[in-house]
């Protein structure tokens, strides 16, 4: 049962909120959607990238002659061919931190060159490219490029990179420290911890994981010599963003000379929002060769080049009273940025994590400090639930540790510390102001739905089967709706983060909605049509949705951080309201009545009290298109645009309960039930959001149970394919028990909060809490992820971590 706590938005025809089938699905199910790898422009040549086989070395020489003479090879290029190309910029410099890298003309720092000419800093660092007639010829020629390396010492852990005498990655960055970033009140927190009745501490490793969208990345560059215009087809979450970064900041070409097209994109979860060298290279090489140039990554290539996620080593402390009142939380984190600052990696490692650490709890004193360091690993970036998942993990582990220390039920401790609903908007003391919430309602619902009270009996029953049953709770708040441009600039984001929508009503009454956002599998075409149809009171089947092509769509940042429905959809709604408002003004003319007597309802206008005097939406559309008889102050046609920049972020939240059974003999952990009650405000299409919630939970379970990017001492990524990097498979997960509460956000006209990735935030904490619960009688207080059978088996036999 759904519990709504707040006013429903004014709705038109009730289409919004309905579980309409995704209109994108039939094409996908028939295999007819076009992904980058399926694009086949006439005359296309194929690019392959030579990545460094070593993690850290000086390049002494590169010899390309042999490769150039191989069959089909059109060009071999190295850094020497691109000396006038600027390095890839980082656009999220955490507040107060100076960039150490040379500035771009637009004031942004760049660090990663499109090809590395002097020093390689991680395995996979691109050194050279081959363009050939076929992909096989291009790949084969890579082996003929001879590179001489002078090895340098390697460091792959953030804490070790900051130690005295550690290998240095960038001359400009002494000690490898990119940022020392803090939030909250240190003195107050330290004092509260010093005075506390009870304190608990944990050392946590939030392991590095790889997002692994099933479609590897790809890019096609097409330069038109006649017009001087470039077109880039790329698997991107933000075509406008990539256009801005690539044109002005990397290639140094006019903004309007670059068109970026996102075709169907095969999943992303954060990783395809980043600027990568290949995007620039296909454009530059297309110009050099006068042919379209195409590059499609391999899985191993993706794992060695596409941004990775999480990767914090933390010391965390919680203080409280003996009766369960949390008084302070403190986190010292060593974040691993990888070898170069990615497009927004430094912000992910700091603000997105640190400002969220107190979660759903009303805590008087909180402080977080992050040391963000460079190491010889792939660059860090966002990953489904990024930052917020790391925050929830540390807090929810601490709460369980605290509950255990004071001998109180973990649910009771949580219940006691939830931010009370009368305290909203709530300043969490770490930099976020939560917009709205009813945490008690949400929490109680999850506890009840999960059958929490029955767990003691279930534990006893499991023991009779040789299993240890454990239950784990995790709550979370996830900042979404990125975001308010001014607010983000205060966080160090160098760029506007608003979204826009354009609506054109055609003479025949059909409607086209064009948004700046771009789907990576979220059925935007279905949901944005619902928004427009609901506002205008028309059939959603008459609404077409376009996105993903910068030549057609209005500006927008794209799809990330669960922002499309609370950023782009409000832009659609507000634009539809402009259309409606214009139709009321024009309706007064057409109906021959004063404006205040015109009613817009159900996709038509009519005279108040005289519904016979009416015009349908289609009639109005045609009349507006002709423009006959309109007074001077009303322009003909219906074509409106809105740029939506909300007053603040929105903050979805929720409570998850994991129940696991551990096999005493094998140490294998099975998730036997999983209950999640999430609150994303008003939801546009529950069927589509259901899929996102289920996928998100599964992703989070993956981190808890099996996923890890493993680097060896030489900096080689050992888990660089899907035989060595474990992703959850269908048999690894049960059906989940899901429900929601609905607390609308006041910061957008739909009352929406982010939804897509929020359910990725708590599962890792819930599962680890459950496993620790199952092992608690053995004195286990913490166990690092991933919870592999071997690791658990060793703990069952009393071995230390």
């Amino acid at each position: 049962m759904t519990t709504v706590t707040g006013e429903a938005p004014a709705t038109g025809n009730g289409v919004l909120g309905q579980p309409l089938d995704s209109r994108e699905d039939p094409q996908l199910l028939r295999g007819e959607a076009t992904y980058v790898a399926d694009i086949d422009l006439p005359g296309t040549a194929h690019m392959a990238i030579l990545g460094s086989p070593v993690a850290h070395a000086k390049i002494l020489s590169i010899e390309t002659k042999a490769a150039e003479q191989l069959p089909g090879v059109l060009k071999v290029a190295t850094a020497a061919d691109f000396t006038d190309v600027m390095p890839l910029p980082c656009i999220w410099i955490p507040g107060g931190v100076e960039s150490h890298f040379p500035p771009h003309p637009y004031g942004l720092p760049g660090a990663r060159p499109v090809l590395t000419g002097d020093t390689v800093r991680h395995v996979g660092d691109p050194i050279a490219v081959v363009v050939a007639e076929t992909p096989r010829q291009a790949t084969a020629a890579l082996a003929a490029i001879a590179v001489e390396y002078e090895p340098l010492p390697v460091v792959t852990r953030a804490d070790e990179a900051l130690a005295e005498g550690a290998p240095q990655l960038h001359e400009a960055v002494p000690g490898n420290l990119n940022a020392y970033w803090t939030c909250g009140d240190k003195d107050r927190t330290d004092a509260a911890i010093a005075e506390a009745e009870v304190t608990v501490e944990l050392d946590l490793v939030n392991q590095r994981t790889i997002n692994s969208p099933i479609e590897p990345r790809g890019a096609v560059g097409d330069y038109n010599a006649a017009t001087g215009e470039y077109t880039l087809y790329a698997s991107t979450q933000g075509p406008h963003n990539h256009r801005f970064l690539l044109s002005a900041l990397v290639l140094g070409i006019p903004f309007n000379k670059l068109r970026v097209i996102a075709p169907t994109v095969g999943g992303s979860f954060g990783t395809k929002g980043y600027l990568y060298p290949d995007m620039a290279l296909v454009l530059l090489l297309s110009k050099a060769l006068g042919r379209p140039v195409k590059w499609v990554d391999t899985r191993t290539g993706l794992m060695n080049s596409t941004v990775q996620g999480r990767d914090h080593r933390q010391h965390v402390t919680l203080a409280g009273t003996r009766d369960g009142r949390i008084t302070a939380v403190r986190c010292t984190s060593y974040a691993n940025l990888g070898a170069y600052p990615s497009t927004i990696g430094p912000g992910v490692a700091t603000a997105l994590m640190g400002r969220s650490i107190s979660g759903m709890y009303d805590i008087d004193a909180a402080f977080c400090e992050v040391y963000a360091a460079f190491t010889n690993t792939v660059s860090l970036g966002a990953q489904r639930g990024s930052g917020r998942a790391e925050a929830a993990f540390l807090m929810e582990r601490l709460v369980d540790r605290y509950a255990s220390e004071i001998g109180m039920d973990p649910a009771a401790v949580r219940r006691k510390n939830l931010v009370p609903k009368e305290k909203f908007p709530y300043d969490n003391g770490l930099g976020w102001t939560y917009d709205s919430g009813n945490y008690q309602l949400n929490f109680d619902k999850a506890i009840e739905l999960s059958g929490y009270a029955d767990m003691p009996a279930r534990k006893a029953e499991a023991r009779t089967r040789g299993k240890r049953l454990g239950v784990g709770l995790a709550t979370y708040v996830a900042i979404c709706g990125v975001g308010p441009s001014t607010r983000m600039s205060q966080e160090g984001m160098l760029g506007g983060t608003w979204e826009s929508a354009n609506i054109r009503v055609h003479p025949t009454g059909e409607v086209t909605v064009i948004v700046g956002s771009a789907s990576t599998g979220q059925s935007h075409g279905t949901v944005f049509a619902q928004v427009a149809a609901d506002e205008l009171g028309i059939d959603p089947d008459t609404v077409q949705v376009l996105e993903g092509d910068t030549q057609k769509a209005p500006y927008g940042q794209g799809t990330y951080g669960s922002r499309s429905y609370s950023m782009a959809a409000p832009a659609v709604a507000l634009t539809a309201r402009k259309i409606k408002s214009k139709l009321i003004r024009a309706g007064a003319v057409f109906l021959g009545v004063p404006e205040d007597k015109v009613v817009y309802e159900g996709g038509r206008v009519y005279e108040e009290g005289n519904e016979q005097n009416t015009k349908t939406f289609a009639e109005l559309a045609m009349s507006m298109w002709y423009g006959w008889g309109l007074p001077a102050e009303i322009e003909p046609a219906l074509d409106e645009t809105t740029h939506f920049d909300p007053p603040d972020f929105n903050y979805p939240f929720g409570t998850h309960v994991a129940v696991v059974e551990i096999d005493e003999l094998t140490g294998e952990t099975e998730v036997v039930s999983y209950t999640a009650v999430d609150d994303a405000g008003h939801i546009g299409n529950p069927k589509i959001v259901l899929g996102q919630i289920e996928g998100s939970i599964t992703h989070g379970l993956g981190q808890a149970l099996m996923e890890a990017a493993v680097y060896d001492e030489q900096g080689l990524l050992v888990s660089a394919d899907l035989t060595t990097y474990a992703l959850p498979r269908a048999a690894d997960v049960p059906f989940f028990t899901l429900d929601k509460t609905v607390t609308p956000s006041p910061h957008n006209p739909l009352g929406a909060k982010g939804a897509g990735e929020i359910a990725t935030v708590p599962p890792a904490a819930a599962v680890v809490n459950a496993v620790v619960d199952a092992l608690s009688d053995l004195g286990v207080q913490h166990i690092d992820m991933p919870l592999t059978p071997e690791k658990v088996w060793r703990r069952l036999r009393g071995e230390a971590q």
């Binding site: 049962m1 996908l28 199910l29 028939r30 099933i214 191993t300 996102q692």
Partner: protein
């Protein structure tokens, strides 16, 4: 090939997925990994689902190959399985979807006249296909729905169609 004869000569090391995508333009079959793990390239070879990145084209000579393009005419009506997956929204980004349809098609076909597969059986069948978006739940529900529909239509009258398991009962409201 999807019911039509195709004749061509091949390099000895050519993979079936290369022939399908690059040689025949059948791009519905996808490539998601280098190691036969992800299942995006599954096609049916003489009725059995196989990963076409692990099959040499030469070794498929004389076999019947069925790809996603053969499941329906372009833009045409969806198959029973595709329709069931559509109703359960068993797809998001869609990249893994053609491979799943080809793999699951064998399961649904093989059970049309007999016992419907259990949930664990469906999950086991799906272990060769990775999906990062959906977490598989909607896909499993889709297969349950498809099997129920196939059984209902089976001429032998194998009994009432099994109800779609809805452990995610409340999830319908999410």
């Amino acid at each position: 090939m999807n019911g039509r004869p195709e004749q061509f000569s091949v390099r000895p090391n050519e993979l079936l997925v290369e022939r399908l995508r690059d040689g025949l333009g059948l791009t519905g079959t996808k490539v998601g990994c280098d190691t036969g793990q992800c299942g995006t390239c599954v096609v049916r070879l003489d009725g059995r689902s196989v990963k076409s990145c692990l099959v040499l084209t030469a070794s498929a000579a004389g076999s019947e190959v069925a790809t996603i393009e053969g499941e329906t005419t372009r833009g045409g009506e969806l198959s029973g399985l595709q329709e069931a997956l559509r109703q359960e929204h068993g797809t998001q980004c869609g990249f893994c979807t053609p491979g799943m349809v080809m793999a699951l098609g064998e399961l649904v076909d093989s059970t049309a006249g007999g016992e419907a597969p259990t949930e664990p059986e469906i999950r086991e069948w799906l272990t060769g296909n990775l999906c990062r978006c959906t977490g598989y739940h909607s896909v499993v529900r889709g297969v349950q729905r498809a099997c129920a529909a196939a059984r209902a239509e089976a001429p032998s009258g194998v009994g009432e169609p099994a109800a779609v398991t809805a452990s995610t009962a409340a999830g319908q409201e999410v």
